[in-house]
Structure formats: C-alpha cells, structure tokens
C-alpha cells in the first residue's frame, strides 16, 4: 500500500507542485476577477442558522453567522479584558439604587438598504424600545412570532427584571429594573441583544409579513443580508453606510459544510478562507502547511454530560454521583479533545473570576461507583440512553465518539448504555421536550459574567424554557445565584458563586467534562480576523492579502 498522499515526502512534493500551479492560476486570472469575488470572504461554518434574529436563539453556530455580521448592540465587550465598551450607545448612567439605566445613542447610525427595505431615518431610541419590548411585552405585535421563545432572555428572567424600556428623547433610552442586577450591562452586550429596526417592523406589519423580521433581517451591522439557502449558504454584502469603518470584504459568504473532513478539504483547496472548528486531531497536520494558519484562543466554554434529573433513576443523587465516578475523563480528553482541553471540575472555566479553586477534582473510581449504585438500590445496574449531539461544537468536538467511550466505561459498573442521536434540529426539539435520559452537550459563554454559566444552564427558569438540559430545579441553588445578582460587590458575588459551585459538585446534575480551546484555521493570506472569547466571530476587518 503506497498511496500517494500518505508519505510526507510525497505530500511535500505535491504541495510544492500545487503551490506552483495555484500561483500561476492566481496570477493569470487575478485582474479579471470581479470585485465581489476578489475581495469576497468565504467562511465555512459547521451548520445552518436557525433564525436571523439573535434574540430567538442560543446556538453558537447561529450567533457566529448572524450576530456580529448583521447587527450592533448597545454595548460591546473588549475581546481581551472582557471590559464593556460603547457600541450603539455612546454613554450610559446608572442610578444610585441600580434600578435605572439611561443610554445615550450614537447619532447617524444607518440601517441596511436592501431590496426589501429602504430605511428613511437613522437609528433612534424607538428602535431600541421596539427591540426590547418584543421580548417582554406579550401585546407587542411581533412577540408571538417564532413561538414567543426568547431562550437567552427567558433564562436570565428578563421580563421579570426589566419593568420598562422608554425613550425620553430620540437619542435617549431608559431601562427601569424591578431589582438591581449586576449582570444587566453584560447581558446587554451579549450577541443576543442585537438592535432591530422599528421602521422595518412597521413596514412588515403593514404588509402582514411578520415572519420576515426574523428571516429577512435588517440591522445596523457591517454586512447586509442578500440570500440564504438552507444547508447551502448565506450571502451578505457590505453595508455601505456603516457607522464604523466599512467592512473590508465586499461580499461575505457563509458556506455551510457540516462535515469536518469536507470543511478541511475546502480549506486546503482554498474554497474556504476561514474554517470554523478545525478538528483538533488535525491541528498539528494543518499547522505544517504553509498556506494555512491556525489561530488559538482561550474560550469560555464547558462540555458536560447532563442527567435528566426529573426522571428515575437520575433523580437519585447517588446514581448521578456513581455515573460521574464511572467515567474515565482522562481517556476522553485524549481521544475526543486530543489533549487540547483541560479537565473541568466546575461548569465555570478556571479563567473566570468566580471560579472555585477549592473544588476537588472529579475522580475516576469504578469501584466506588459500584458501591454507590448498590447503596442507591441498583446493584445490578440499569439501562439508560446517552444522547449524543450529531454536530461538533467547540465544547465537544465529537459527542458520538465520547458516548462510545462512556458506553464502555459504564459497562464496567453494570450500566447498559445505548447511544441515541438525531439530526440536530430534531435533537434539539426532543431535548427541549426532555425526552432524554442523559445528554452530551455543553455551553459557550456569551459574556464574561459568571451568571451566564449558571442561570441559562441550571436555574429553574431555564428548566421551564428548556435550556436546562439537566431539567434540574433546585431552590438552594437558585437562591445562591439570585443573591449573587443582587449585589454589585464582586467579592460578595464570588462567595455566592463559590458556594453554588460546591453545591453543584455535590448534587451532580451534570458532570462537567472539559473546557476546550477555540481554534480556527484560516488561509494565510487572510488577515484581521479576531476570535472573541465570548461567543461570535467578527469578520468585517478581514482582508485578503493578494500578491
């Protein structure tokens, strides 16, 4: 067996050959290429977006594709420090009691001009009021669109927190809260809090096409929407009246390639300029290529194994602990993450300021696990399902593989696990209906606030909206995280979060598995792409360096 692509000598030769031919082709065709193609950027993403309105979603794939490209937020997060920066809001004041937030908007911010909408005025306070009222007011004409489901905002209890959003003047927006909330500003800076156009909303209302607000988006971001073909591509063009520096690429295409190997292939053949989530297994291989750069950044995320705590036997804490003890996480880190992740002891990554360093590391102890099972009354084990998500995510690059490893581990303690997987949309729907026994899934943070890991994942309100995969509702835990929000003092908040983490590691509604690094492979001619540790990716400043 001497296949041409196996030996490195051959690869090197082929690469050289290929570079030569590519160079000649490039130099020959370059001047004739249309501008939209020449400066166009192709981002190969791992899945289709669920909507074009970030308010309605939580999935990282959708956020990456729409949030930073189409919209702006009142506030932005500095990628390095996690500090809040002015976005559409130039400045803001907080009242002394922490209940009233007043924002001054940036003047002359233009909405997108597209084939389906021509704005007649720049951004005003009405747009901000329209945007947030949609989430909280049931009488808002758009509230019920898409099933009245605003997962992120519901998980942070937005409707309960914000009493009203008003516009004292065209450039002033006032948020009145019902209680102080130290995570409020951070939440406004998340990718979910994108600002929509009220004028577009009125136009749609007049024509009766309410659903188009979420499928044919209008925002103020660096790119405007052009077309979307499900499972094929999303096409954006440059927003010519953007208030910041204009986007460098004339055209931005999200090429939807769910398969890893195919995405890598497209990177190597230069069909893709940027590739989301290269396989960690191949990182060393990729970095050897002269035409590809690998970017690495720490990311706030956690991959975990959540038990459906509303179902027997997972409502028994001993069973949950036993299952957690039975899993060999070292093997998982090697086989699934290829060493590019750290073992997780808490849902919170160690880089967060609220991380509890005193937590004892999760043990691998099948003997103790068997004892616990016997104590819980399952001496002979039981049968269960492990739901493995069919897509790869930062926090879990291969859930099916992980499930196969865990299946073998669980067999050691007499638990017969079968692996269940559906196509991603059905999977999420069935998960939302809590049909699972246990699931391998995870979470990527949207902002630097630790609350972003607790409330959307494990609170009672999240259990109702269906983002709490452990289906876990515990008064004690909810009390910890609620108290942490009431105070602005970071020391005090930390002590609450520490206690919450301690409580979680005892109750084990989910087993945290790993915090992984985020990687991105880009064509080395592309410059100016930054990975944001808190969610979405910004592509507006990407330039192709063509010689």
């Amino acid at each position: 067996m001497n296949l041409p692509w196996i030996t490195t000598a051959n690869t090197r030769y082929l690469t050289r050959l290929w570079l030569l031919s590519a160079a000649s082709v490039l130099s020959a065709c370059q001047p004739q290429l249309p501008e939209t193609v020449r400066s166009g950027l192709v981002y190969c993403s791992e899945g289709s977006p669920e909507s074009f309105n970030p308010q309605l979603v939580t999935s990282g794939t959708t956020i990456d594709a729409i949030s930073q490209q189409l919209y702006d937020r009142l506030l932005d997060i500095a990628p390095g420090s996690g500090e809040l920066l002015p976005g559409l809001a130039l400045s803001w004041q907080v009242s002394d009691d922490g209940l009233v937030y007043q924002f001054t908007l940036r003047p002359d911010v233009q909405f997108h001009h597209t084939e389906y909408f021509t704005p007649s005025r720049p951004l005003s306070a009405d747009d901000v009021v329209f945007t947030f009222n949609r989430i909280m007011l049931t009488e808002h004409p758009f509230h019920a669109q898409g099933g009245a489901n605003y997962p992120f905002f519901q998980s942070v209890d937005w409707a309960g927190l914000v009493k009203s959003v008003t516009a004292p003047s065209r450039t002033q927006v006032r948020f009145t809260l019902s209680r102080p909330d130290s995570s409020f500003l951070s939440n406004l800076a998340t990718d979910f809090a994108a600002i929509l156009s009220a004028e577009y909303g009125q136009q749609l209302q007049a024509s009766g096409n309410l659903s188009r607000l979420d499928s044919h988006p209008i925002g103020t971001g660096p790119f405007r929407f052009r077309e979307y073909q499900k499972d094929v591509l999303i096409r954006y063009y440059r927003h010519r009246h953007y208030w910041r520096e204009l986007a460098k690429p004339e055209q931005l295409v999200f090429d939807i390639v769910p398969n890893n190997a195919r995405r890598m292939a497209k990177l190597f053949t230069h069909e893709c300029d940027v590739v989301a989530f290269p396989r960690v297994a191949e990182l060393s291989l990729i970095s050897q290529r002269p035409d590809v750069d690998v970017q690495e950044s720490t990311s706030m995320n956690v991959g975990f194994w959540a038990f459906n705590t509303a179902k027997a036997p997972f409502n028994n804490v001993k069973v949950r602990q036993a299952l957690a003890l039975a899993i060999n996480r070292e093997a998982i880190l090697q086989a699934v993450y290829f060493g590019h992740a750290t073992a997780a002891n808490s849902v919170l990554p160690p880089t967060s300021w609220a991380y509890n360093p005193n937590l004892s590391a999760q043990q691998f102890d099948p003997i103790r696990a068997r004892q616990l099972l016997t104590e819980a009354g399952y001496a002979d084990g039981f049968s269960m399902d492990i739901w493995a998500m069919p897509v790869q995510r930062l926090y879990n690059p291969n859930a099916l593989k992980m499930a196969e490893l865990m299946q073998a581990d669980l067999a050691q303690i007499g638990v017969r696990a079968s692996i269940v997987s559906y196509e991603w949309n059905s999977f999420r729907r069935k998960l939302g209906a809590n049909e699972h026994d246990s699931v391998l899934i995870g979470w990527s943070a949207d902002n630097a606030d630790p609350d972003n890991f607790f409330r959307p994942l494990l609170s009672c309100s999240a259990a109702q909206t269906g983002t709490n995969r452990a289906n876990w509702c515990d008064e004690n835990f909810d009390r910890f995280i609620a108290q942490a929000l009431l105070t602005a003092d970071q020391k005090q908040r930390r002590s609450y979060y520490m206690a919450a983490q301690q409580y979680l590691s005892e109750q084990m509604p989910l087993l945290p598995i790993a915090h992984s690094q985020r990687f991105q492979a880009i064509n080395s001619t592309i410059k100016g792409i930054q990975i944001n540790p808190y969610g979405g990716i910004a592509l507006a400043n990407a330039t192709k360096d063509i010689k």
Binding site: W18, L19, P34, Q229, L233, A265, E271, E423, N425
Partner: protein, 338 residues
C-alpha cells in the same frame, strides 16, 4: 404504431396509479400521524386539525382519502417539508435540475465514450486492446462509487489542487436561478464575468460527472461489446460478408444499427442505478440536488419529503424507461409486433 403507443400509455397510467397508491400508503406507514405526513405541519391547532381532516377526508374511508390525495397532487399542493416548512413541490423543482444536469452529462459521457470504446473492443475480441478495455470495464463497475469519489478528490483536489471539492459553482459567484441548470443560467445572466463564472462552474462539474459517469460508461462498454459480438455471429452478417462487403461496411451498415438497438434499451434500464449513484455522488460532492436532499431528509426524519421524493424520482425513472422503450421500438420494427 399508434395502437402500440396507446397500449404504452395505458400501462404508464397503471404504473402511475400504483405508484401514487404506494406514496399515499406511506403517509400511514411512516411514524407519526397521517395528517402530519401529508401536510408537513409538525403541530396544528384543533381548528387547523379539523380543517385538515376535512381537506384530507381523514374521517372517511381510505379510498376517499386516496382520491383527495390524488387531487392535491395534481393541483400542486404537495404539503410542506418538515425541515424547512417550505412547499415541497417548489423545493424539489429547484433541486431537480441540479440532479438532471449531473445525470445528463454522465449519460452523455457514457454514450459518447462507452459506445465507441465498446465497438473498438469488439473489433478484435481476443486482442490486447480488447483485453485491456475489458479489464478497465470490470474495474469500473466494481469500484464503490463513494470510495472512487474520495480517491479522485484526494488526488485532484487535495493532492494536485486542480479542482474544487464541492458545490456547483464557487460560492462567491452569484448566479440567478432561472432554469436551475447552472451552465444555462450563467449564459442567461448578463454579468460581465460570465466567462469566469462559466469556467468556475465547469471546474466544479468535472469531478462529479466523472465519478457518476464511471459506472454507466463501463457498463455501456461491456454491453456494446457483447452486443456487437452477438450480432457478429448472426447469419445476416455472414450473408453480408459473403456478398463481398468489407469489414467496415458490414460493421457500419448491418452491425452497428442492430447492435445498438439493445443499447438504447439499456439506457432506460440503467437509469434507475444511475439515480442511486447520483444520490451518493451528490452527498459526497455536496451537490445541491434532489438526491442529497432526500438523504438529508432521512437524517431529519422528514417524511413528507421522502414521500414526495419517491413520487418525483420514480416518475422520472419511469418516464425515461418508457421513453427509451418507445425509442427502441421506433428504431426496431420487429419489437412493435409484440
């Protein structure tokens, strides 16, 4: 001849009725409620449900339901796709041209390469060239299409970097959907960069066509060769040679026409296999055709789509089958008698 055509049409109608019954019964056989599988709605209010029940006559017997189903099919109401909630018929009409384009080019290749090579192989059946052709042919129809596709991608796309790996055209080229046939659409567009787009589309087309054409071409080579050899044994050929015609004349006047008759039929019979292969090829090359869509549908448990896909693809295959059979009869008066 007219009588023959009429008989064929009656047969065609019969087959279509059987097909529609099969598609209709799938609504019941698939998991989920029949109204879900027929309408493509995942959930419905009690009001909607009542409306659907009347529309689909779910409260009546199977025959009434089937007739209602037939009426809907003919009026173009094929229900929605579970996955996208778009009307299925429209969705398929945009996808079908991509599959047809691919299958048509593959068929052309198999025709224009397979038949001449088959004839060459038949000229000297024991020669080295003929042996070589036979060896290539048996390799060609033994190779699993998905593996073959991967090998070609490995070599031409990743190894040599000559050709792209997926899609119909570079994603940065925006081509308006007019006919759905990519090359035609590019020619119809009034862009200044028609030529670049055309070259780009051709580069995308090359590998999938090559992969898809492999099986039919090799089958065609073998079939033509066998058919030629069979005809060569016939007495009328011997008569013609005895009359003093040279080999070339005999081949051209008597051999080819008779040898190619069964080949025409073969196209119809191979079409079903071709569609199966096209589905796999589409998956590997991310070709946005109906085959890839159907396979995605099964991952998504998109039952209305599978039902509709069955109707469209089978209709396509049956029509091609029938067409080649009629063509065959047209060229072969002997077959009309039967």
């Amino acid at each position: 001849m007219i009588l023959y055509l009429l008989r064929r049409l009656v047969l065609l109608a019969f087959v279509f009725i059987a097909l529609s019954i099969l598609a209709f019964s799938l609504g019941y056989l698939f998991p989920g409620e029949p109204w879900q599988n027929f309408s493509g709605l995942r959930s419905a209010s009690s009001e909607q449900l009542a409306q659907l029940t009347t529309l689909y006559r779910l409260d009546q017997g199977y025959i009434a339901q089937y007739l209602a189903y037939l009426t809907r099919i003919f009026s173009g109401d094929w229900g929605l796709s579970f996955a996208s909630q778009q009307p299925l018929l429209q969705e398929m009409l945009t996808l079908l041209p991509a599959t047809l384009e691919l299958a048509a080019y593959a068929l052309f290749i198999s025709f224009f390469i397979g038949i001449p090579i088959g004839i060459i192989a038949a000229v000297k059946p024991d020669g080295v060239l003929s042996k070589l052709i036979s060896a290539i042919a048996v390799t060609g129809y033994s190779i699993p299409v998905f593996w073959w596709a991967l090998l070609l991608i490995m070599l031409f796309s990743l190894g040599l970097g000559w050709l792209p790996t997926a899609g119909r055209i570079g994603v940065l080229y925006e081509v308006n959907h007019v006919t759905g046939f990519m090359l035609l659409d590019i020619l119809l567009s009034d862009s200044h960069h028609q030529q670049e787009a055309l070259i780009n589309a051709l580069r995308h087309l090359l590998l999938p066509t090559l992969v898809l054409a492999t099986f039919p071409t090799t089958v065609m080579i073998r079939f033509t060769r066998d058919s030629m050899l069979d005809v060569w044994e016939q007495s009328y050929i011997k008569t013609a040679r005895a009359k003093g015609l040279n080999r070339g004349q005999v081949l051209y006047r008597h051999g080819l026409r008779n040898a190619l008759l069964p080949v025409i039929r073969q196209i119809g019979l191979q079409f079903s296999t071709l569609i199966t292969l096209a589905m796999i090829t589409e998956v590997i090359f991310s070709w946005p055709g109906i085959g890839r869509w159907l396979i995605d549908s099964i991952y998504q448990r998109n039952y209305p789509a599978i039902q509709a896909g069955l109707l469209v693809i089978s209709t396509l295959v049956i029509s091609v089958n029938m067409l080649t059979e009629i063509l065959h009869t047209l060229f072969n008066p002997l077959a009309r008698k039967r």
